[in-house]
């Protein structure tokens, strides 16, 4: 029995403090995953709290057939999708400038570099936001958490081939949209050292 299963058993035996340990184990990685999806601290915190409450209330339904993290992420994806449906699509897809400022604050002493990096970030966030919900989730699961296609498939309830296809398609769309933006002269070419 691994750590998660022992903690879950304790919770089901009435020891709520064990759940606090589970939350502390997973809160950072789930926060990162949800933040990359929403690009909003406020939304991330709301969704994260809802995810853990839902996990606690349904913990008795958890089966060790699944990995606990896979089960947790599938609940996070469902809560995100339902949150996403409640909010209007355009509102969700808006980039929050203050969030991008936070990202660049470490290099604020170099305004030119900071501006360039911020512009690149805006571009990347726009490209990621142009993806369909499932493609975006699959791409983020792949690169934020480093999940395998099998794990992504379990979380999204699709086949591993379909999960791989979603990630590949997401990258293809990102390149296609980038080519379109570049063609319209919206962005300068992005040069990155190999």
């Amino acid at each position: 029995m691994d750590r998660d299963e022992i903690l879950i058993k304790n919770v089901l035996d009435g020891n709520a403090d064990s759940f606090s340990i589970l939350v502390q184990c997973y809160q950072n990685q789930l926060y990162k995953f949800l933040y990359k999806l929403t690009m909003s601290k406020e939304d991330t915190e709301d969704i994260l709290q809802e995810v853990f409450i839902r996990v606690y209330n349904n913990l008795y339904k958890y089966s060790s057939r699944w990995s606990f993290s896979t089960w947790l992420y599938s609940i996070a994806v469902n809560v995100f999708k339902s949150h996403y449906r409640k909010k209007k699509y355009d509102e969700h897809n808006n980039i929050h400038p203050e969030e991008l400022d936070v990202l660049t604050c470490s290099i604020i002493d170099y305004p030119e570099v900071a501006y360039e990096i911020k512009e690149q970030r805006v571009l990347i966030v726009q490209l990621i936001n142009s993806l369909k919900s499932d493609q975006k989730i699959a791409l983020i699961l792949k690169h934020v958490q480093g999940f395998s296609y099998k794990e992504i498939a379990d979380i999204l309830d699709v086949s591993p081939e379909a999960a791989k296809m979603k990630v590949q398609r997401a990258k293809q769309i990102i390149l296609k949209k980038y080519d379109q933006l570049k063609g319209r002269g919206v962005y300068n070419e992005v040069f990155v050292q190999r």
Binding site: A16, Y62, I174, K176
Partner: protein, 221 residues
């Protein structure tokens, strides 16, 4: 120069799915192709952006612990234990339940064949009686209807009174089953020397559903 590398090739490169020879070839190509360099840059920037850590105050567990019902699993321990058992057994319960259901139905079908046959024939009779009752009701409703469809019954042609003719009166004729309405139009006497108002010519029309059906000149006096 036309670039021979597709988006799929660049994705394979970033995911480390190319063999060494392919990688070396692509690296040489990147030295001379600004477009591929730029597109590869976008893929790498996307991955870097996603991998980048995000700071949070790490106090979420306090909020969560304040929001959950801590006694949930203490109060109804046996209920949730049973729920957990069912959830664990769900993958075995579903197929087993289907097999058991099929077996039970097969057993019932074999042992109670005569009874099922009787029930089915009784049901057939009930449905048949029900259909007949509906048909009887429909016939009764048709008979009770006071509306009379002139066109289909009498094959009369629709018509309109000639210009200047005026409605003189109407008459309802009915029997036990039907009712028809007749309208009479008269030709006014336009001769100023005449003392009469009408010429004495009358055309009758059958009135049905706001339509007039010509019955012809019925009287001349």
């Amino acid at each position: 120069m036309k670039c021979s590398y597709s988006a799929e090739d660049l994705i394979r490169y970033t995911e480390g799915l190319m063999c060494d020879a392919e990688k070396d070839e692509l690296k040489k190509h990147l030295d001379i192709c600004e477009s591929c360099r730029s597109r590869l840059g976008i893929l790498k920037l996307t991955e870097d952006h996603l991998k980048e850590d995000v700071s949070n105050n790490e106090t979420m567990y306090l909020k969560v612990m304040g929001a959950i019902d801590k006694d949930r699993y203490l109060r109804k321990k046996s209920k949730y234990k049973l729920g957990a058992f069912v959830a664990r057994m769900a993958p075995f319960i579903k197929p087993s339940a289907a097999v058991i259901l099929i077996l039970v139905l097969s057993l019932v079908a074999v042992t109670q064949r005569q009874h099922i046959s009787n029930v089915m024939s009784s049901l057939g009779e009930v449905f048949s009686k029900h259909d007949n009752l509906i048909k009887d009701d429909e016939n009764k409703n048709n008979k009770n209807s006071k509306f009379f469809t002139a066109e289909s019954v009498t094959e009369l042609a629709k018509g309109q009174p000639p210009g200047g003719w005026v409605l003189s009166g109407d008459s309802n004729i009915k029997d036990m089953e039907r009712q028809v309405k007749l309208k009479f139009y008269v030709k006014p006497d336009s001769d100023p020397s005449s003392s009469k108002n009408e010429t004495g010519e009358v055309i009758a029309y059958l009135h049905d559903c706001n339509e007039l059906y010509d019955l012809g000149l019925v009287v001349s006096f």
